[in-house]
């Protein structure tokens, strides 16, 4: 049996884990929708962003949706390591890569489902993008690339944590980071210090890329920056995860 089919078996297992855990379904799929309703209806009027707030916030909330799914991934990777099942896989000669790839791909799939649900709600709330089919393809590409990068860094965090509980906590900074970016409000409206942080942190160019694509006018500089950030994060996450996995398992 090849590593590829082992990865598929693992993917199905990990996806079942996410689907069967009410907390992870809530965090990954419902939470972004709740946040969207909250921002649009409660705070939206207070923010002057120059366009309809739903049009401004949707790309940022899509990014939040990616991040909210990560806690479950970190916890589930860690459970595999701490609850002994990893030894069973190792003795069965399951490809080591398959165990980790399964987690990352399940995480990306969850992100895609969450974002599809979020977009559905956004359209109901009057979201009116001006993106061409090609732009949408670009959005999908950015989402998958970001999900992949965030997935690998989360798997690494999950592997490094001592217990499933601390693993869930380790993913919290990733969930918080989008709030300190241009996801919810433009960075120039933030206070000094925070503004610089927001402008230079990786999520801002990623959000601006999505925003550009959705408005049908992507900014090349942001796209390059966003893709570079994703590739770097994915690479660091992958190498870190692999090293930790080898040391630990």
């Amino acid at each position: 049996m090849s590593a590829k089919s082992h990865s598929l078996v693992m993917l199905r297992r990990n996806f079942r884990h996410i689907a069967r855990n009410p907390t992870s379904v809530f965090n990954a799929v419902l939470m972004p929708i709740i946040l969207m309703l909250m921002f649009v209806y409660m705070f939206g009027d207070a923010f002057d962003v120059g366009v309809d707030y739903i049009d401004y916030a949707t790309p940022g909330l899509m990014l939040l949706a990616v991040c909210y799914g990560l806690g479950a991934t970190a916890t589930s990777v860690n459970s595999d390591m701490t609850k002994g099942i990893i030894n069973r896989f190792k003795v069965m000669d399951v490809s080591r890569g398959a165990v980790l790839t399964g987690h990352v791909v399940a995480s990306v799939l969850t992100n895609v489902i969450a974002i599809a649900a979020l977009l559905g709600v956004a359209f109901l709330l009057g979201f009116s993008p001006s993106a061409s089919p090609l732009d949408w393809l670009g959005v999908a590409g950015v989402v998958v690339l970001l999900g992949f990068a965030a997935g690998w860094i989360t798997v690494a965090l999950g592997l490094s944590a001592k217990s499933p509980e601390t693993a869930g906590l380790a993913a919290v900074p990733l969930v918080m980071l989008p709030f300190f970016s241009s996801a919810i409000v433009p960075a120039e409206k933030m206070g000094p210090g925070l503004r610089e942080f927001a402008e230079y942190q990786p999520f801002t160019p990623i959000i601006e890329t999505m925003r550009g694509l959705i408005n049908g006018a992507p900014d090349t500089g942001n796209v390059v920056l966003a893709v570079s950030w994703c590739v770097v994060i994915a690479l660091v996450g992958y190498l870190w995860a692999r090293a930790t996995f080898q040391k630990r398992a």
Partner: protein, 323 residues
């Protein structure tokens, strides 16, 4: 029948051969030169208290951990250089049930079928057979997280059997189980042996090793302090004895002088008197104490347990090792 002869020949060779196995974690020596041999089709029990190195031994023998020294051959393959071939021949059930709690019993077994290179016949048949054999059919569609400890162990072992391994490692298969589940597990293990499977098991229980194993090795602080059949080991262990506890050292000394074949323990103020535990010898003992106007505060009859084995073989009790 002539075609079977090579198999018969193989059956008499060793399934596991370990020589000079050493393992240390940083500066702490965990295994200090282990030599053992397990013949194919037999049950070998590694007996020892917590911290003796049992799990480390299993981890090295099952390719989960590399040794610092010595050679280990399992199913004729070197664990260091032919790990893949070893893994193809063995099944391992660890100390903590390695089942996927979010999956049902049936899905857990199906997962093993999907991941196993050796399963060639109909996978769902394999799953159904195992569920039935381990009496888990009724709970097959419930998540493993709802299973009792005994059921979880059974599922764990069933998962290990997917792919029909010929050598099975069981790390403390009954630790934490109630007496009834323990007996069920024992009868399952006996069933495997009847099928010709070789079993390497670790245990803290003398009774378990006695019940199941053809050969027993006693592990203490990383060394094998004794090896042999259950009967051979029992000959090295003090038999049943009566323990008398006194209130003062003076009384203990007086009693020790009267009961000449006894062994005093001045710290615990106890006296160990060999005896078979029968009423006749007990009455004789009490009469003798009466004769000298001695009275013990407490009197108890002891049958040998793991503590006695360790006391006899190592000069200290299991408590010391657990640190």
């Amino acid at each position: 029948m002539t075609g079977r002869i090579p198999i018969v020949v193989r059956m008499t060779t060793s399934a596991i051969a370990v020589s000079g196995l050493r393992k240390a974690y940083r500066d702490k020596v965990v295994l200090d030169g282990i030599d053992l041999e397990v013949r194919a089709g037999t049950v070998f029990a590694l007996l020892g208290p917590n911290g003796a190195g049992k799990t480390t031994t299993v981890n090295v023998l099952t390719t989960l951990m590399s040794a610092d020294g010595g050679t280990v051959r399992v199913a004729g393959h070197d664990v260091a250089t032919e790990a893949k071939a070893v893994r193809a021949a063995i099944g391992v059930t660890g100390q903590f049930a390695a089942v996927d709690e979010l999956l049902t019993g049936q899905e857990n077994l199906q997962l093993m079928v999907d991941l196993n290179r050796a399963v060639s016949r109909d996978g769902s048949r394999v799953v159904a057979d195992l569920l039935e054999r381990f009496e888990l059919t009724g709970s097959a569609d419930k998540p493993a997280s709802t299973y009792s400890g005994g059921m979880r162990r059974k599922l764990d072992l069933a998962m290990t059997l997917v792919g029909n391994p010929r050598i099975i490692f069981l790390d403390e298969p009954t630790t934490g189980l109630d007496p009834r589940s323990r007996r069920t597990m024992w009868s399952i293990i006996r069933g495997l042996v009847a099928d010709g499977v070789t079993i390497f098991l670790t245990t803290q229980y003398l009774e378990e090793a006695d019940q199941l194993a053809d050969r027993i090795a006693v592990l203490d602080q990383g060394r094998l302090v004794a090896q042999g059949t259950a009967d051979e080991l029992k000959r090295q262990i003090p038999g049943t004895h009566v323990r008398l506890r006194f209130t003062t050292a003076a009384e203990l000394d007086a009693a020790a002088r009267v009961l000449t074949d006894s062994t005093p323990d001045p710290e615990a103020l106890t006296l160990r008197v060999p005896g078979d535990g029968g009423t006749k010898s007990l009455r004789a003992l009490l009469d003798r104490l009466d004769e000298y106007s001695l009275s013990a505060e407490e009197c108890s009859v002891h049958t040998p347990d793991l503590d006695d084995v360790f006391l006899a073989l190592t000069g200290h009790t299991t408590e010391v090792d657990a640190k």
